[in-house]
């Protein structure tokens, strides 16, 4: 099992790498300039968060990520700015959040089928976002918070997922289980 982590420049990109290492999964952090041919053989792709404002110009700094989303056939998980980029790419609107959240957030799960399998209905996660993505056609909402209607979503057609919160940080409850659930999907 090998995962490529596309680096949008998050403070926590390396935490994703650490979370996967602790789950016994090999991974590599790659810059957005990496040609698709170099990541094609990965078993899964994770797109990190970052300070990029996806809805207001930041999407232009994401290099080859658009091509990854079009050509990569395995499972993809976007985190924060990574999720927003996925939503924008598939026709949603990335925009300044009605309720930005920094630090502790109560996450309410709407769909426990895959990413949140075996987890409670509500738990604490940590977020750090100015923006959000809404109205992505062909995607279903998996979780929300009081301030934000789309904290996690998935494509109805392809194994593509996104979380606005950060399951890779220590203060997010069940974070490593969320990654384990995603990796289980990748193993199928």
């Amino acid at each position: 099992m090998f995962v490529s982590i596309v680096d949008f420049g998050s403070q926590w990109t390396h935490r994703i790498h650490r979370t996967l290492t602790y789950l016994d999964v090999e991974s590599k952090i790659i810059p957005v300039s990496t040609p698709f041919s170099e990541i094609r053989k990965s078993d899964a792709l994770i797109i990190s968060g970052g300070a990029l404002r996806i809805g207001i110009g930041g999407a232009e700094q994401t290099g080859s990520t658009k091509e990854y989303l079009e050509k990569f056939e395995g499972p993809i998980l976007g985190i924060c700015a990574g999720q927003q980029f996925i939503g924008l790419h598939f026709g949603g609107k990335a925009q300044p959040a009605a309720g930005p959240e920094y630090g502790k957030v109560e996450l309410i799960i709407d769909d426990k089928d895959e990413l949140f399998a075996g987890l409670p209905d509500k738990f604490t996660v940590w977020a750090s976002h100015n923006d959000e993505v809404v109205g992505t056609p062909g995607f279903s909402i998996l979780a929300h918070s009081k301030a934000c209607s789309n904290h996690a979503f998935k494509s109805n057609l392809r194994p593509i997922y996104g979380c606005l919160f950060h399951p890779e940080v220590e203060h997010s409850e069940h974070g490593s289980e969320i990654y384990a659930n995603f990796l289980r999907i990748a193993k199928r």
């Binding site: 420049g9 403070q11 016994d24």
Partner: protein, 319 residues
């Protein structure tokens, strides 16, 4: 698989030998867990070819040089203490912007290390840099949150090659390495202390007078929380300290008007420093800290506040 400290030690000792070869290296040791662990690793890898240097910047904790020298000699590491306080204070004069302060400090450290390396004949500088240091220093798409003195604060031109054995680790993993190296527990479990020292706990310009105030306030906050933790009143926070604010407020001392500085107390729980939560310190402990700071530093401080911010949005240190 969780972190394997023994395997890490084996790999990093041989990597360091491969890099430095028969050459010599110096290492900057602050007495914190990271640089202490890096020093013991370096000593294991390089034997007599490593010189461990403690730079007294004048911005260290109370009695730090003596304490660190004693605790590291228990690990078989002999420290050379370089007194560079005047040099640091004059480099910091007139600076109040946090990034300018950090960069001035980073450069000063390197100039001191260059002098030491030259007289020891070393080409390599070993640093206890860990993951959050380079992450927060930024690069490419990654925003600069703060330039750590050992990464973003390094001057462009320097006459040594940098070696960073702990580059991929977080604090909790460094502590596992410290334990596996059989360092004294008080060395590897010590709370983090910022590389630029008290300079980032003095908001605004750094002067030796302001350093004295925040040093004394930090010592009180540390002592009271450690006592409370020992007495079972609270868990010992991951990091706990005081910050001197550039805010003067009105008070009343002995029926007379006072107009003095403000100290902020911060205590957080964390594992890796990348996220943190303010601790629920019992009110009586905070009260005791406030009483002691305003009495023992009555010439300077007449107000104490407690910082309740998480990281994010705050960072642990204020600058």
């Amino acid at each position: 698989m969780p972190f394997d400290a023994d395997k890490f030690i084996e790999k990093s000792v041989s990597a360091m030998r491969a890099t430095v070869g028969a050459g010599k290296a110096i290492i900057g040791v602050s007495g914190g867990a990271d640089s202490s662990v890096a020093a013991v690793l370096s000593a294991r890898a390089l034997g007599k070819n490593i010189l461990c240097v403690f730079v007294d910047t004048g911005l260290m904790r109370q009695d730090e040089a003596a304490k660190v020298k004693a605790s590291l000699s228990k690990c078989g590491v002999e420290l050379k203490v370089v007194d560079a306080g005047e040099e640091f204070f004059s480099a910091l004069a007139g600076l109040s912007e946090p990034e300018e302060k950090r960069k001035a400090i980073g450069e000063r450290f390197i100039r001191v290390f260059e002098r030491e390396a030259k007289s020891f004949g070393a080409k390599y500088l070993v640093q206890g840099t860990i993951a959050p240091d380079w992450i927060e220093s930024g690069s490419g798409l990654r925003a600069t949150i703060k330039s750590h003195h050992n990464v973003g604060g390094l001057p462009k031109k320097m006459g040594m090659e940098v070696v960073e054995p702990l580059h991929e680790l977080y604090k909790d993993e460094v502590r596992h390495v410290g334990a596996a190296l059989k360092l004294p527990v008080e060395v590897y479990n010590r709370q983090p202390f910022p590389g630029p020292g008290l300079a980032v706990r003095i908001i605004g310009e750094v002067t030796s007078e302001r350093a004295e105030i925040v040093r004394a306030a930090c010592a009180i906050a540390e002592e009271e929380m450690e006592t409370a933790a020992k007495g079972g009143k609270m868990a010992l926070p991951w990091q706990y300290f005081a910050v001197l604010l550039p805010v003067k407020t009105v008070g009343v001392l002995g029926d007379a008007r006072a107009y003095g500085h403000t100290i902020a107390v911060r205590a957080v729980e964390s594992m890796d420093g990348m996220t943190a939560k303010a601790c629920a310190v019992p009110p009586e402990v905070l009260e005791r800290i406030s009483d002691r700071i305003t009495r023992e530093l009555k010439e300077h401080v007449n107000r104490v506040v407690y910082d309740v911010t998480s990281k994010p949005p705050g960072t642990i240190e204020w600058e």
